[in-house]
């Protein structure tokens, strides 16, 4: 397990202290940690457990249950492609193949230069404008391979 630098340790302690008084705070705390560090490091688990006075197993169980929490640092840009039915009906699979080729990575991988992490996502609620993608929290609809390339080029600027 990697150790945390003192800044990150401090950040996690602060987040726990801020939220520990709230009812059922664990998910909120983990959102806070991922929001601040970009992922939930394994070394954060004992800190959070101690701060909330629950077992490490409980924290680990929650971190690993939810797809949203990442266990390693993501690339500089998060690229999520919707793979659910509505987007499939509008070519999501072909778009995903294109994206894999274009970025040279598979789903849930980060490009060698650390710029992009590609991940599948199951519904962005943009089903009337399928296929949909989200890049760094920005939603995109009617994404053709050409549009995908343009969006990636924009991030590279």
């Amino acid at each position: 397990m990697q150790t945390l630098n003192s800044g990150d340790t401090e950040t996690i302690r602060r987040i726990v202290a801020e939220l520990k008084g709230r009812p059922g705070p664990l998910l909120e705390v983990l959102h806070g940690v991922q929001g601040a560090l970009g992922y939930v490091p394994a070394a954060a688990v004992p800190l959070v457990a101690e701060g909330l006075n629950i077992s490490r197993a409980e924290v680990h169980g929650v971190v690993t249950f939810y797809h949203y929490f990442r266990h390693s640092p993501p690339g500089a840009h998060m690229v999520s492609l919707c793979q659910a039915e509505s987007c499939q009906a509008q070519g999501a699979e072909a778009l995903a193949s294109h994206a894999r080729r274009r970025l040279g990575v598979d789903f849930n991988q980060t490009t060698a230069d650390g710029r992009f992490t590609l991940e599948p996502i199951y519904c962005l609620g943009n089903c009337a404008c399928s296929p949909a993608a989200m890049i760094d929290g920005r939603l995109h609809g009617r994404v053709t391979p050409e549009r995908f390339d343009a969006l990636i080029a924009e991030q590279r600027k």
Binding site: P25, Y68, C127
Partner: protein
């Protein structure tokens, strides 16, 4: 006074360029010295026309769409601020055939009001329902909800009034109102549209529920995939506190109601109500065994209302207009209206709110205009990833809970995903199993193991290994999952598979290796 221009801030509209359009209008307006006031409204739900810009003229709002940033200088030159003709001129949005036949009750304000303004909400009839509720007393409010015939719009279609009555009847003490905003079904976006376009309606509905059953705390459990809705809700809740519609003295009634948004973390299962409660408590989102019902022992072990966004957002209309007015819409046991979402391979996708009872064909062809690809629509999946595939031969089925159930389908949250005749139904069946395997909470065996075995069996069929025997095995596996799973995920994931086998058996055959 500057002209008011509406440019949707809805996530769907933003996804096709609404932000760039708003910026271009502000820039071009400033350059010409006629900068309009820009309101970021929700979407009216005609997504093929997004970004749809509306201009407030002396004779009402005039729509233009779909507008790109590049169209903006031309719109100014054509004098669109006065509602003048232009190639993108649509006229009043209400006059479009898409809207003319709709019966918008729950969505009456979505796309019309400024979602950040309490004052605008009140101006458009907001908080009339709450004021009625405060004058009625809890039992009478619950009676009105029961009489309206409102059923849970999240998918389970359980009578809302009965849930509320159970919570009301629990001894006074800590009770909760929770809103399930974990809208994870592909093909659905009505919750998102409402939260972004008219969040106060949801806040008012939850406040009415709290006041009625004696709950002082509300939680909205929102999926993490909806950052725009998260921002809209947080802003609206802050504004409602500011205007004293939330807090220790709701609208001067002396009653307390507090409301908070909690984010999910990408688990489809958390749309199941007991799993959602676990997640709200900060735990793994594993389903609970029922009984006890959440209405008796729900969040933190206390009596809890769990309702979907659209259900709660319909409450203010019912209180403001009366239960009978709502029950007058619809057919049989499906009373009121349903915000239906048209998605997938469809020419005109978007939101249609209509009374129950119109047919799939009317929806797909009159509203939807057929497939986007121009090819025949072969099937639709209704009700999300756990919903059955309905073949074209059954498109004359009316959209109501009972009629769909009679053909082995389910309405769910009202999402309809269209597929043209290029769809491979064996692959869609495999996807249903794959999705279940990804999203299973792991608590019960039929769901956890069955979904993975299901994928493998379909792979064998596609590979040409013992086709007939494996099709039979797949059918048996589906039965086991339906009968043996703890909740709707494993219990319903076989529905798309079974319907594909029933209606499109010809697709379950060996493929040549690509």
């Amino acid at each position: 006074m500057s002209v008011r221009v509406y440019v949707p801030g809805d996530a769907g509209a933003l996804s096709v360029g609404a932000e760039e359009v708003a910026r271009a209008i502000a820039l071009e307006g400033a350059r010409r010295g006629e900068a309009p006031e820009i309101v970021r409204n929700g979407s009216r739900g005609a997504y093929w026309l997004e970004p749809m810009v509306e201009v407030a003229t002396a004779s009402g709002r005039v729509a233009y769409g779909p507008v790109t940033a590049a169209d903006v200088p031309g719109l100014f030159s054509a004098n669109f601020l006065k509602g003048s003709p232009h190639a993108l001129h649509l006229g009043p949005a209400e006059s479009l055939p898409w809207f003319a036949g709709q019966q918008r009750l729950t969505f009456e304000r979505v796309g019309i009001v400024d979602p950040a303004s309490v004052a605008d909400y009140v101006k458009h009839g907001g908080y009339q329902g709450l004021s009625q509720a405060l004058s009625m007393g809890g039992a009478q409010v619950v009676q009105a909800i029961t009489a309206s015939g409102l059923r849970g719009r999240g998918g389970a279609a359980f009578p809302t009034g009965i849930k509320w009555k159970t919570v009301l009847e629990q001894p006074a003490g800590r009770k909760y109102v929770t809103c399930n905003a974990d809208e994870g079904d592909s093909g659905t976006f009505s919750d998102r549209m409402l939260m972004e376009g008219d969040p106060f309606t949801l806040i008012e509905g939850m406040t009415i529920a709290g006041v009625a059953v004696g709950a002082a705390q509300g939680y909205i459990y929102l999926r993490a995939e909806y950052p725009h809705a998260h921002r809209a809700l947080k802003a609206a809740i802050a504004a409602a506190y500011q205007a004293r519609y939330l807090g220790p003295d709701v609208a001067g009634s002396g009653k307390r109601f507090d409301l908070e948004v909690r984010l999910g973390a990408g688990a489809y299962i958390c749309g199941e109500e007991t799993s959602m409660l676990e997640s709200l408590e900060g735990k793994r989102g594993e389903v609970r065994v029922r009984p006890p019902l959440p209405a008796i022992k729900g969040l933190f072990g206390q009596p809890t209302i769990v309702n979907n966004v659209v259900t709660l957002a319909t409450v203010p209309w019912i209180l403001a207009h009366g239960a009978e007015a709502y029950a007058n819409f619809g057919t049989g046991k499906s009373r009121g209206t349903l915000p239906i979402q048209l998605a997938g391979n469809i020419k005109r996708g978007g939101l249609v709110e209509r009374a129950f009872g119109l047919t799939l064909r009317e929806l797909l062809y009159d509203y939807g205009g057929g497939s986007a690809s121009g090819r025949p629509i072969r099937t639709v999946q209704i009700g999300g990833p756990l919903g059955a595939y309905v073949p074209a031969s059954q498109f004359d089925t009316p959209v109501d809970y009972e009629a769909l159930s009679a053909i082995g389908a389910l309405l769910g949250h009202g999402g309809i995903v269209a597929f043209d005749d290029t769809v491979d139904m064996a692959r869609m069946a495999r996807y249903a199993m794959e999705f279940c395997a990804i999203e299973s909470c792991g608590k019960c065996t039929p769901c956890r193991i069955g979904s993975t075995r299901g994928m493998e069996v379909i792979d064998r069929i596609l590979a040409g290994t013992d086709g007939e025997r494996n099709v039979q095995l797949l059918e048996e596996l589906c039965d086991t999952m339906v009968q043996g799973s703890l909740c709707g995920l494993g219990g319903m994931a076989p529905f798309p598979v079974q319907s594909a086998l029933k209606h499109f058996r010809e697709d379950f055959r060996a493929r040549s290796q690509a």
